[in-house]
């Protein structure tokens, strides 16, 4: 067991930990804040909110995004909503209940103290976003409206039509834009992180590549925040945006940051099924649809009739049957596996028999088409554009797809990685969702980290460093990292093989999906761990990148990202192999109850696996942080 994994959880009762932390935390005088520079990489919800708030406080902030504008970050694509324990509906919600639902939803594999803090600040997030002008949905009386999401028995989800992520991101982006206009933040757009640099064991800065010119440069700071999102694109086909990648987190991992629970990936139950081999990505349909849509498959695998012609007695509403108290709102991991089993049994629907129905006929009959349109209109339109079928007339077809990654850089209570001065926020860290994230909690966590956690915890690190100079970008560590980055990119151009980065991405993604996707086995994972290094060798010998390194080259960008996905894929499989239990999104076929539900092994695996780089992902060292549950009872998760 490692002694280095100190989660720094404050002492005291659970409900007092965050307030007592804030009372004791070291502060930086307002006039001294401008002496500190912080680099924030990524401008999604976590990155934009952190950069804006740190600049408001007076720190010098340099923000980096590989997009053309901070507003493009993938947080923008979140549809359904954001949770907060406001109890505006008077339906029995509370901070404790949100905390408890999140811990349970995460299958008891998250840290109690972090999750409780998340639930506490959730209420501040809504206040903050409304003050910024986020146009959340409202009732006729003018007060805020809520909807329900999976894994909860209260209505605590705030939403802005089917575009909640867009509205929240634009809110955070506008706060960031204000600071850019005021000079508090310097923005570097179309600039991608290619390495993290440490000097004397502390984060000293980053090495970046200007995507338009190919120029590699160094940037130094007193602290570095990585808010660079998740690694769901490791599967190639996912609901993530095309450019989402693991490079920033992976490069930090290679410099000594531990990578926690990489096998915890979330497969979202309601995505539009794949239609052909050209498909570049999958499109998610918000979980909010399950508020009114009913999931079913025909009982007969040879069913030939159209959905509307199939009578009730020949339909299996399997979620309502198996999980009567949560029904169609069973959590994501459970709903996804149930869909997979139905399709595996040959009950799938659609031309490729690769989906299940999500049916709104009852909702339309009960509420009227107008109400359904008001609630889900834009989602229905999007479905029709992609699938070419009108969901008002026939049920949607859905199948699970990779969507979110709960694993990520290991962080302590202060969101600091195992490298002092290097922080990870939002989806890039591992901390709050355990082995499965509840719907509408990703937006909550990104904004909690950026607005309400990091601004306190970074001060605690910086305060003792007053008047300490920023490391020079001429330091040998920076120069060595720049050289390595240049050589890496020139190397891809010089291989001169026959296969494109996309070809390799598709192949590596398929291996990870087949063996480390919705269901995993020891045999499959071992197979993946023999196939991945072989394919990686081929990648290094047979990659073809056309064009040059001196002007914008998307093929070259992709090569670097795929390289890192290979290495991460090996670590995901090793993590999945070592975790000999099932929990949340990690389902090992060998470990299940008689009813086919995830079977945890709390005696052996009630811990976080934090992997330490050793020079090769196949030999990375597994460190352990034990999880202690003092406030919730470790129970078998039941949604029946």
């Amino acid at each position: 067991m490692s002694t280095q994994l100190n989660s720094k959880i404050p002492a005291g009762p659970l409900g007092d930990k965050w307030s007592s932390y804030k009372e004791d935390v070291k502060l930086v005088n307002p006039n001294n804040k401008r002496k500190f520079k912080v680099i924030v990489v990524g401008t999604g919800l976590a990155g934009a909110s952190a950069a804006a708030t740190l600049a408001e406080l007076g720190y010098q902030v340099d923000a980096f995004t590989f997009h053309d504008s901070p507003r493009r970050a993938h947080s923008i694509a979140a549809q359904g909503g954001i949770n907060a324990a406001k109890n505006y509906q008077g339906d029995g919600d509370s901070v404790h209940r949100l905390f408890h639902d999140t811990i349970k939803g995460g299958d008891f594999r998250a840290r109690e103290a972090n999750v409780h803090r998340l639930a506490e600040v959730s209420v501040n997030i809504i206040d903050q976003m409304v003050a910024q002008g986020v146009p959340f949905a409202r009732e006729y009386g003018g007060l805020l409206d809520n909807r329900s999401f999976g894994g909860a028995q209260v209505s605590r989800t705030f939403y802005a039509r089917g575009q909640t992520g867009q509205q929240l991101l634009l809110g955070a982006y506008q706060q960031l834009a204000r600071q850019i206009g005021l000079g508090g933040v310097r923005l570097f757009n179309r600039t991608e992180l290619v390495d993290v640099v440490t000097v004397e064991g502390r984060a000293a800065g980053i090495v970046v590549r200007d995507l338009t010119t190919g120029e590699v440069t160094s940037h130094a700071a007193h602290a570095v925040v990585l808010a660079t999102g998740g690694y769901g694109n490791a599967f190639f086909l996912s609901t993530n945006a095309m450019s989402c990648n693991v490079t920033a987190a992976w490069r930090a991992h290679r410099k000594g940051a531990y990578f926690a629970n990489p096998c915890y990936t979330q497969i979202h139950p309601t995505c539009i099924p794949q239609s052909d081999e050209f498909q570049s990505k999958l499109t998610l349909m918000s979980e909010s649809l399950r508020n009114d849509g009913r999931v079913w498959v025909p009982k007969n695998p040879d069913e030939k009739r159209g959905a509307a012609e199939i009578p009730e007695e020949d339909r299996d509403y399997y979620l309502e049957r198996l999980y009567p108290s949560y029904g169609n709102l069973a959590p994501r991991d459970i709903s996804s596996r149930a869909a997979k089993r139905a399709v595996d049994k040959g009950l799938g629907v659609g031309p490729l028999k690769n989906g299940v129905y999500l049916d709104f006929a009852d909702a339309i009959a009960r509420l009227g088409k107008d109400v359904v349109k008001e609630r889900y209109g834009n989602l229905f339109d999007m479905y029709e554009r992609i699938a070419g079928e009108n969901p008002y007339d026939m049920p949607m077809r859905m199948y699970p797809a990779s969507h979110y990654t709960m694993g990520g850089l290991w962080v302590d209570y202060e969101l600091m990685t195992s490298i002092p001065g290097l922080y990870a926020a939002g989806e890039a860290n591992f901390s709050d969702h355990g082995a499965n994230r509840l719907g509408a909690s990703a937006l909550m966590q990104g904004l909690a980290d950026g607005y309400f956690v990091l601004p306190y915890t970074i001060g605690n690190y910086l305060a003792p460093m007053l008047n300490k100079a920023i490391p020079s970008v001429d330091h040998p560590e920076f120069k060595a990292a720049e050289l390595a980055a240049r050589e890496r990119f020139t190397g891809y151009l010089n291989i001169g093989g026959t296969r494109s980065p996309d070809w390799f991405h598709r192949e590596v993604g398929k291996i990870i999906w087949d063996y480390c996707g919705m269901e995993r086995t020891e045999q499959g994972l071992e197979k993946a761990l023999s196939e991945l290094p072989a394919l990686y060798d081929e990648f290094k010998k047979d990659l073809r990148v056309t064009g040059s390194g001196e002007s914008l080259n998307q093929t070259l960008e992709k090569a670097g990202r795929v390289d890192d996905f290979f290495q991460l894929g090996m670590l995901m499989c090793r993590d999945a192999l070592e975790r000999q239990e099932s929990c949340g999104g990690h389902f090992r076929s060998e470990y299940q109850t008689e009813e086919g539900e995830a079977l945890r092994d709390d005696d052996k695996f009630c811990h976080v696996a934090a992997w330490e780089w050793s020079g090769d992902p196949m030999t990375a060292k597994r460190n352990v942080e034990e999880l202690e549950f003092e406030n919730v009872h470790l129970a078998t998760r039941s949604y029946k």
């Binding site: 903050q128 506008q174 052909d276 499109t283 999007m382 990148v545």
Partner: protein, 258 residues
């Protein structure tokens, strides 16, 4: 089941950097499923180009769900192509037929210089938002979210404007290269809400004047509304103009008092 389109001819703008003069190149896609999206067709073409040892065509894209606003493209002279209220990434090949000839160009506007091939620089949009497209609200000081009831029609109108994805189709479609729809959508979103009142006139003034530094003038053609993938109404331009006028008046009064 999907059908396959055959012999698609693509005339695509290639320009090797901002200083290059650029030219059209013709490519042929022999066969593609009608289930493929327009950008998946370009992916497929790029794979072929890489296989042939040629440089892939550069184009902006990311979420492929019509929400991030990264994708662009003039397709047969129309911003985001032939399907109304649809961004390029959500356009599917079932909208085209075999043998089709498709001309693909980048956004054409002086304020959006070409970076390479089909990719342009839309940073001027960010400069406009930085000049006033926000509500000043320091983190931590917000009152309870339900303290200010907002009538549903007001919240809904604000949301209609806030749906803008910042793609730039409005500018590309405008014969004047004006950004009034983009700028006014943000002004309307924030100026309609009670939270936005304190900075209402300052916002209208500074955003519109920042816009004028980069973009052409609006002469009410309405092409922007027709091209907008989010169907933002040009009514927002009227609102922004009214607020701008009031802003100038108020500022003059303020000056006269000094």
């Amino acid at each position: 089941m999907s059908n396959h389109l055959k012999d698609i001819i693509l005339k695509i703008w290639r320009q090797n950097g901002p200083q290059d003069s650029g030219h059209f190149e013709t490519y042929k896609v022999d066969e593609i499923s009608d289930e493929a999206s327009f950008l998946e067709m370009l992916d497929y073409l790029n794979e072929q180009l890489i296989t042939d040892g040629k440089e892939a065509i550069v184009f902006d894209h990311d979420c492929r769900e019509g929400i991030c606003g990264t994708c662009s493209l003039m397709i047969n002279g129309q911003a985001h192509g032939p399907e109304r209220s649809t961004a390029t990434c959500q356009l599917h090949m079932r909208k085209f037929s075999s043998g089709a000839e498709i001309v693909i160009e980048p956004w054409r506007a002086a304020a959006f210089p070409i970076i390479k091939d089909l990719m342009v620089d839309r940073s001027a949009f960010d400069r406009i938002i930085e000049s006033g497209g926000f509500i000043t609200s320091i983190t931590g000081g917000a009152p309870d979210a339900n303290l200010i009831p907002i009538p549903k029609p007001v919240a809904d109108s604000a949301m209609d404007s806030a749906e803008c994805i910042g793609c730039g189709a409005c500018v590309a479609a405008c014969p004047n290269g004006a950004a009034n729809l983009f700028t006014s959508a943000k002004i309307a979103h924030l100026n309609l809400l009670p939270q936005g009142q304190a900075e209402r006139y300052k916002r209208a003034e500074s955003m519109i004047e920042k816009m004028d530094e980069y973009f052409g003038s609006c002469t009410n053609h309405g092409e922007c509304e027709a091209a907008c993938p989010k169907e933002i109404s040009i009514d927002v331009i009227a609102l922004a103009n009214a607020d701008y006028r009031k802003a100038k008046l108020k500022n003059r009064k303020f000056i006269s008092r000094i």
